[in-house]
Every structure is written in C-alpha cells, then in structure tokens.
Symmetry: C2
Subunit: 421 residues, 2 copies
C-alpha cells in the first residue's frame, strides 16, 4: 500500500504542551515514511480542513519541529469550532472527506478535548459510511483534565504546576505583608466545570512548607458565611491566608460568583471575575486588606514553568497516536495509565473513542476535604507526580526562545470553496 | 573599637529578590566579625525595632542564610509603616535609638524604596543630634524602579522579566485562538506612578519574535478613541493583539481607569481592576472577544523566573551596604552604575541619602514611542540587560524549595513597651 498523507489539527483552548504533542506526531510520522508521506496541519484547527487551508509541515526543518517541544500555544492555530451531529450538518463531514481525498489523506490526528474526541469519532464513522478509508486518532489535550479513561490529560500538569508554584510564591509575599497590610490574597484560576486546577493550588502547601490555603471548587456551592469563617480562622491562626478560586464557582442559586450584575457609573453592564468578587466579600465580611490576581492565559501558556512529566506525556501521546495509526488502529485515543505512585510510573495505553466522546471526568469526592475548602492526601498523591520536574525552554536575551514555524500552505486542489458558519 | 551589632529591616512591598539583599548583608557581615558582632533583623520591618521585636539571624545556619538568595518575599516580614517627620513624631525616632542602644546596635541597614531611604536618612540625622553613633545605610529595593541616582533598582529586573515572559507566552496563546475566539488579551501590571513595569511588557516582542503589543502607561492620559484605533489597527494587521495596562493608568479627568464606580446588583460599590475595564472598552468599542489577567503579587513574587542580573545586583547591594558600613560610611545608599551596554557592565557606586530621599525617578519621555503605546529602542537598550539570565531556585517534588528561617527572637531588654499607631 502506498504511503498516505496525515492530517493533524489542534482544537480548543491551547496549552503549554500541545505543541509537544504536535512534535511527537510529526517527528514520529517522519520515521514511518513507508506508511505516512507528509503531515499536513490544519491552519486554525479543523477550519483549515474545511476551507482546504492546509500547512505542509515537511517544509519545516527537524530542528524547528523539535523546538515545538518547548513552545507553548498552538503552532498551527487552533479554533473553537464544534462540528455538529452527522444528521444536523452532514455537509461539513462530507467536506472533510472531500478535502482528505483530494490531498490523499489517510490519517486524521485530532489534538483536543472532549468535543474534539467526539468529532474525531464521527469522522471515523462517516469515513466508513462513505467508503473513504481514514484512520481517526484522537490526541488528548486539555488543561481541564476532564477526559475519561486516561489517568490525566496533557496540558493539565503544567497548568497545575504553574498554579502551585504561583500560589506558594504569592503566599510568601502576603505572609511578609500581613502585619500591617494585605492579609488575604485571592487567585482566580481556570476550570469552569471541574476543580482540578483549583486543587493544584493546594499543592503549594506541604509538610515542609505549611501555608494556609482556602480553595473554592466549582463542585461546591459557595457559602458566604462558611467561607468567611474559614478565612477568619486561617488569618487568626497564621496571620494571613491565600484563597484559590475557580472561575466556575457558583452560589447556591446556581449563578456564577463572577456574574454579579456589575454596572459602571453609567449603568452599563460590566464583566468581572470571581477573584474581585471574593476579595470584596472578604473586605465586607471581615474588614481585611486584600490583593487579588487573575491568572487567565498566563497559567495555560506558562511553558517557562512547564512540568517535565507533562511535557514527556504530551510528546508520548503524539508519538503513540502515530504508532497506533501505523499499526492500523482507528477511532482510538492514546491514554496515560498510572502504573505506580512511588516511584511514579506510567505507560501508554489505548481507549476506544466511543468510550471517550461526551464523557466528562469530574474530581472524585474523596479528593476534596470534608469542609469543602481543601484537598485530601488522596488528591495530593494523584497530583504530585503530574507537577514533578522542570523542563525549561532555551532562553535568548532573557526571554524564552519559542519557535514560529514557516507554516507554508499546501496548494489547493479543490475548486469549490466552503463557507464556515 | 569593640564590634557592634547591626540592625537590618525590610520595608514596603516585597520582591522576588529582597531576600537576596538580606543574604548579601548577613553573609558579608559574618565576614566582618571584628566590626559587626551580630545581625539583628526587625520582625515585620521597622515595627520590629519600635516594639523591640528583634530576630537573631546568627541562629540560622550558613546554608539557611544562603538559601535566602533564591527565596522570594521578605523572610523577616516587611511592613507598610512610614515614620513621620522628626518634628511630628520625634518619639518614634527616639524609641529607635533607645532600642538600638539597648542592643548595642551601631549599624542600621534599611532595605526599601523611597520612603525608607527618607527614614534611613532621618535616623542618621537624629543619631547625630542625640549623640548616639549609628551608621545608617539604605539598601535599595523596589519593583517600581523609581529610586534616583541608581541605574535601576533590585526587584525591578525580575518583575520586568516575569512580565516580558508572560506577555510573550500569553500572546502566543491569543495568536492561536484569534481565528474563531479571543482576539485581544489584556494584562494588568503593577506601577501606580511610573510605567517601568508596563514598559517591560514591550520586551515580549523583538526582531525575531514580532508581537503586536499596546502598552498603557500611567504617564499617558488614557484616550479611548486613540486606544481603540490602535487596537483595531493591530488586530487588522496581525489578527490579534496584547494590551499591557499599568494599574495606575488614568483618564484625562485624572481618575484611575480602574475606578469606574462599579456597583453590584444590590448597588454596593465594588473594586475592580484596570484590566477588566480595558477589556470591556475593547468589547464595547470594537466588538472583539477578549481575555484579561491581573498579575498582581504573582509578578513580584515570581522568584521562579527571576532575572540573573537582578539577583546578582540585589545581593551586591546588600554586600556593598555592609562594606560601606565597615569603611565608616553613614547616610549613604549603594547604587548600581551602568558602565556599558554591549557587553552590559555595571559596578557598585554610592549615593548620599539626602540626594535619594523623596526623589522619584520617572520614565524618560524618550522611552515611550510618540503614539504613547510602545517603547523606543532607547528603552529596550535600558531594559534588555536587566531581564537577562535565569537564576532558577532548587526544586523538590515539583515545587521551588524556598527557605523559612527560624526567626528566633532576641531577648528583650527594655521594660517600657512602645505602641505602634
């Protein structure tokens, strides 16, 4: 069988290590010349496939591709674009197959979270229905850590490390200031549905470095009085306290804490964050001086403090995806299987996409302490290896040297254009 | 002359490297045994001196003191407490001298910004008036970089590096997302009076890595229309744009941009930041999707990404302070003198405190581009060496290993207590 080309695309919110997965895909594909001719990347994710805007990754040197391993964000561009169901928008799936056929693409590597796993699964189903053979492999990625089956998701370990390190550092700061000034520091972190990232803030404190940290999980309805009592107790005991609040925290009324119906002096609605809301609650309820921060993109882009475990796993997922494809697998996703905790050992495993798509993995209940404000030892045991090890990027003139690829377009072959709605 | 003890205190907002200065002071003092007996640190800054709450740094091992070099924030506690003028509150100064005398303190090392330089100066004046000999040496520290005479201030280089690195990383992120989602990322940084830290955001972009960055300096009155036109132009050219906004940006009316009279649904006043305000302006004015972050304490506590130049200079300032004292100097501050840019060379110099106290160094006008939204080559030349080099702390289990000293109290000798108001 003659070698076919591969299509690779990045989907959804990017991470510090999604390019490490891309690196794993491309470097490994280059070793399977008899099966995989070229890797074409979608410019801006799946939209690149729909609009036949493909990038020829073979135009980039081995060293440029290798540098993807230490470059954050999506080197080919990502997109937030969810393909609808087969019945609702069959035209999109047919267009994908049309583009794949035109460019002799036999492998579909889709690097994303739950939605992309679903898309990937549908592509493999349709290719069977339409009689155009394509092997669809999903490469897991999400800072939210909410994919099922896999022990953890590439991207999460690095954001967890960033939040743990930052919470420890900011806590040292507020501890220094507490005597006459700031007593409470509030840090808002990502995680709209699950508290995995907020939980990582709890890792800032350990036996050797005891730090008072109050975590607000999206899994636990916000209770103002209970929260204030907790902070008050911490400040009385330690003199200060750090609060790590998930952006997704909701009150008992089901409304996001960040959604306070803020209006400016002219009555215009304003969007705020959860951190300033929590800080204002601390000030009103306890009269304590506060500072607050919102990590936002900084946390998921922070390749400078990426977890070594995470980088290795992200690369391994990309590599395994290609190896699975070369072995003839279809509609699967490589997964990380935890073999042991001490020492931490993991291997690459495989999951069928129909078991992955549309399943969200939440924090286990026994990962959150009974009072709802902290993490248990079980949670620590789970998180510890994921944030372990440093994998610094190279620097030039004080700044990390991140690669930008040439991203040379593959000449179009189709005459008809496709409008992405 | 018999050896006298030294007093060292940390003042004001702490930094990633103020402990490196403490390390320089203590390690160097330990080499001058014939002149300096022990270094006593003020617990929570100058308040520790006023309340006779002194820490005996000799109780900590050489390795613990050495670890201060890589530990952020203030190891002995800092405070925001400005001593009033000599005439307004002579009692405070007299109390200081009383405590110093009781503990045989002949050296006063005060590690802080402009206010502390002023206090340090007054202490030396009063010691002369009161006939109690003390050598007062100010050790420069401030992330705001606003002390005069010294080329730059320890603490600034590391926060500048953090902001430059974070802006580069977040810009890679928004560039990946821009096709279908976020087009503008807004990052709020410190600097209430001067735009030094905001300027550092501009370093994220250079010849090899061109990034569209719009900087909002506190020196330039915010002009909504001009700003929107600038962002619009950037997004049209690059597809995305990053905005670095100083917390101190004001409108033409002289009001802080962050002070928008925000009220929640119940009409309660809420404190927000400048970043969400700018983000809302972008949304209202251009209809673009945005994300925003507020670095707050994260930026000044980020020892994990400290500048090597900054760490070396912070240490050198502490070391020089002790050397100056040993040579008999009084009412002076060690300074950093830039000798050359290429290669960057600097030496330690000395400034008299009466020239330092109450003088604020602003950004030179020719550091800001004519349109008011960027930094000039002159500014780049100034900033480049300050963010250069990495000086990673040691890690254990994925987290930086920061030291906590024993902070053993020196037994009190005075019977009268002093109330700090």
């Amino acid at each position: 069988m003659a070698a076919k080309n591969a299509f690779y695309a990045q989907s959804g919110g990017v991470t510090a290590v999604i390019n490490a997965s891309a690196c794993g895909v491309i470097e490994t594909a280059r070793k399977y010349k008899t099966k995989i001719a070229k890797v074409y990347a979608g410019r801006n994710g799946i939209i690149g496939a729909l609009t036949e805007d493909l990038i020829d990754t073979s135009k980039d040197s081995a060293s440029a591709i290798a540098a993807l391993r230490h470059t954050p964000a999506g080197a080919f561009g990502s997109c937030r674009y969810k393909l609808k169901g087969l019945e609702q928008n069959r035209a999109e799936y047919e267009r994908l197959i049309e583009v794949f056929e035109a460019h002799n693409i036999g492998y579909f590597f889709y690097n994303g979270g739950g939605d992309s796993a679903d898309t990937c699964h549908k592509v493999s189903q349709l290719s069977q229905q339409m009689g155009y053979p394509i092997q669809a492999i999903h490469v897991p990625k999400t800072v939210d850590n909410d994919l099922p089956i896999t022990d953890n998701c590439p991207g999460f370990g690095s954001v967890a490390k960033y939040i743990a390190v930052s919470t420890r550092e900011a806590s040292f700061d507020v501890a220094s200031m507490a005597k006459t000034s700031t007593k409470v520091f509030v840090l808002e972190v990502m995680g709209r549905h699950a508290g995995w990232i907020a939980a990582a803030g709890g890792m800032a404190s350990d036996k050797e470095t005891d730090i008072p940290i109050v975590i607000l999980f999206p899994e636990i309805a916000f209770d103002r009085d209970k929260f204030l009592a907790k902070v008050d107790g911490m400040v009385k005991k330690y003199g200060y306290c750090s609060v790590v609040v998930s952006e997704g925290v909701k009150g008992a009324d089901g409304k996001f804490l960040s959604d306070q119906g803020l209006r400016d002096a002219f009555g215009h609605a304003q969007l705020g964050g959860a951190a300033p809301v929590v800080a204002n609650i601390v000030k009103d309820g306890l009269g304590l001086k506060y500072h607050w921060g919102v990590a936002d993109y900084l946390q998921r882009a922070a390749r400078h403090i990426a977890s070594k475990t995470d980088v290795a796993q992200a690369y391994a997922m990309g590599k395994a995806a290609v190896q699975f494809a070369a072995k003839g697998h279809n509609a699967v996703m490589p997964t990380i299987k935890r073999v042991s905790n001490k020492p931490y050992k993991w291997t690459v495993d495989m999951a069928p996409l129909d078991k992955v798509a549309n399943v969200e993995k939440m924090m286990p209940e026994n990962f959150i302490t009974k009072d709802g404000f902290g993490i248990t030892d079980k949670c620590r045991q789970y998180l510890a290896p994921l944030i372990k090890g440093e994998d610094y990027p190279p620097y030039k003139d004080g700044l990390p040297k991140y690669v930008r690829l040439k991203n040379v377009a593959v000449p179009k072959k189709l005459k008809n254009k496709f409008e992405v709605k």
